[in-house]
Subunit: 348 residues, 2 copies
């Protein structure tokens, strides 16, 4: 069990800046995110797309924004717990908050910052009868299959770079599977040209099969997948032997367990006061797209402000006797010490 | 008289970002600032000092921050009215706001944004009897003297780069003044080494005189300066013939006329609601260091958020029938058109 001053749920841009602002308050923190990397939505959906409204940055991509925020928070080294979901959050009798993650990590923290955006990103599920029974055995939402696939028939469903990469990598596995098929409902793929070319090449040499159609049924015998039925564009149903399905249908956000935490909510958003962006429970703050208040706009620039005031709110809980006036990073030697910069490092 | 949708008072970082956010709302604006350049406090006091807490910018100087904000707002080309103070601000019967500046510029605007920081920066006055009588004639707060100085005795008071530059430039004026003296109370100057070296050089060749002391009296005859009395560190008073004084004592902020505008205030700060940062008068918003609300921290990152929500508040007044959902600069073609960026310009 990790005892700490602060846990941030969500390592997107606002979560990262939250860690930075906590650092300026001399508060170290742990960060938890459902994705296996930092950056959240910004990294997942806008990595290579331009953002024009971050103050003093005329244009940057989502990935650049995340990289810059990571660089900025480096001085404070937040401890990362990635690829896991906070499943439980309870106020203890001593005023601290107990958190549990899907990996079994447990925290007792004086403050918690929910910076979970639109929720935890999770793989979009295959919506066909019997799918849940097969999950983790014959149905896989990750890029690879743990089980032995030698001699098996594999179906990869999807149309993005992840789906194509997974199909190619499975087709090249040794010992070889019996067949690998990439399936999408249209013959259109959303991936870099070079990757699509590789895929077409593997199809022309027969290493990979390409099937245009939609999955309509799973044929399961004793909890093991035997074959699938696919509706082709011509409308003929087609049955294909299949032992494993890799479904890479993209990711979609889920508010998840947060909705059960007995925090005041309004239409799936956490209500906060704008003085310090605390929720209805003392010690739990909500910043970024997940909160709501009069005038709320879901913009990153607003999340940065919210995280800043929330850090001041946390300092009142963690350092109740501290009574320092507002300090500026330009002039405060105390902040320079925290940031690890000395006068020697300052730009000329 | 200029009729417009928006006037921003104060062209510091928050004022500049206010203009950018108004641009995203398709609102063009005029900006007024007391200083002869944009950037406000940041440019005036921290131009070469490091700032560490602007989101996603690990470190930048005040001048760099201002330059980046100017670049970002370029697409919207706010009209600048620099070197003038807004002296009067009145709500008209038609709901618009009438503004007058110290230059006599008049505006009628649907919305006004007070982003005046700690107030208008004004030259620190020379606090010695008779100074006000001489102002603009024998006492100058700017870097140069309009009148003919050939054969005259000039005294430059100050210890920064401005004071040294003005003294050197006056000493090199042709036809030459009779004498130019740089005076400061200590033999310590706050300017780049090279500039201080130039000054010492000019002193050693006799082109410039250096006097360590403090002005204690002005000797005036028929409203014209004749000489001054200076207290030297040794305590001996010294009388020196002087026809013109250039006083470059730095600048200090003054809230100025804003205090008389009948807006609700709290300890010299304008009260705003955090929904859209409007003051007690509809159409007048206050953003940045000049406003106050529960939790307020005087940080630039907070001003950026305030300016963003204030722009939405203004859009409700200027485009009352607009009913578009929140748009993102990453995906909205309408915003791309306003920003003047096309898909071709987007980073790869």
């Amino acid at each position: 069990m990790i005892e700490t001053d602060a846990v941030i749920i969500g390592a997107g841009p606002v979560g990262l800046f939250q860690a930075f602002q906590l650092g300026l308050q001399d508060i170290r923190c742990h960060m938890v995110d459902a994705l296996p990397h930092v950056g959240g939505q910004c990294q997942e959906l806008y990595a290579d797309k331009p953002i024009y409204d971050i103050p003093a940055i005329s244009v940057c991509t989502g990935a650049e924004l995340v990289a810059n925020l990571e660089k900025q928070v480096q001085a404070f080294q937040p401890t990362m717990h990635l690829g896991q979901l906070v499943t439980d959050c309870k106020l203890q009798a001593d005023g601290r908050i107990a958190l549990t993650t899907s990996n079994g990590t447990q925290f007792t923290s004086k403050t918690v910052f929910i910076a979970a955006g639109v929720g935890a990103f999770q793989p979009r599920p295959l919506l066909v009868e019997g799918a849940t029974v097969l999950e983790g055995k014959c149905l896989h939402y990750g890029l690879s299959i743990e089980q032995d696939i030698a001699g098996k028939d594999i179906l990869v469903i999807g149309h993005d770079a992840n789906a194509i990469s997974a199909a190619l990598s499975l087709a090249h596995t040794k010992p070889a599977p019996h067949s690998v098929t990439l399936m999408h409902r249209r013959d259109v793929f959303d991936a870099p040209d070079a990757l699509v070319q590789s895929m077409r090449g593997a199809v022309s040499t027969g290493q990979l099969h390409l099937l245009i159609g939609q999955l309509t049924a799973l044929h399961i015998y004793e909890n093991v997948l035997q074959s699938v039925t696919v509706a082709t564009p011509q409308g003929e149903p087609l049955e294909q032997a299949t032992h494993h399905i890799v479904a890479l249908l993209g990711i979609s956000p889920k508010l998840g367990p947060i909705a059960q935490w007995e925090l005041a909510m309004q239409r799936k958003q956490l209500e906060v006061n704008t003085e310090n962006y605390s929720t209805s429970v003392r010690g739990i703050f909500a910043v970024g797209d997940i909160n709501t208040y009069p005038g709320k706009k879901k913009l990153i620039v607003c999340g940065f402000h919210e995280a800043t005031l929330a850090a001041f709110g946390a300092a009142e809980i963690i350092y109740p006797d501290r009574n320092t006036p507002l300090q500026y990073t330009t002039t405060s030697t105390a902040l320079h010490r925290l940031l690890g910069v000395s006068d020697k490092n300052k730009p000329v």
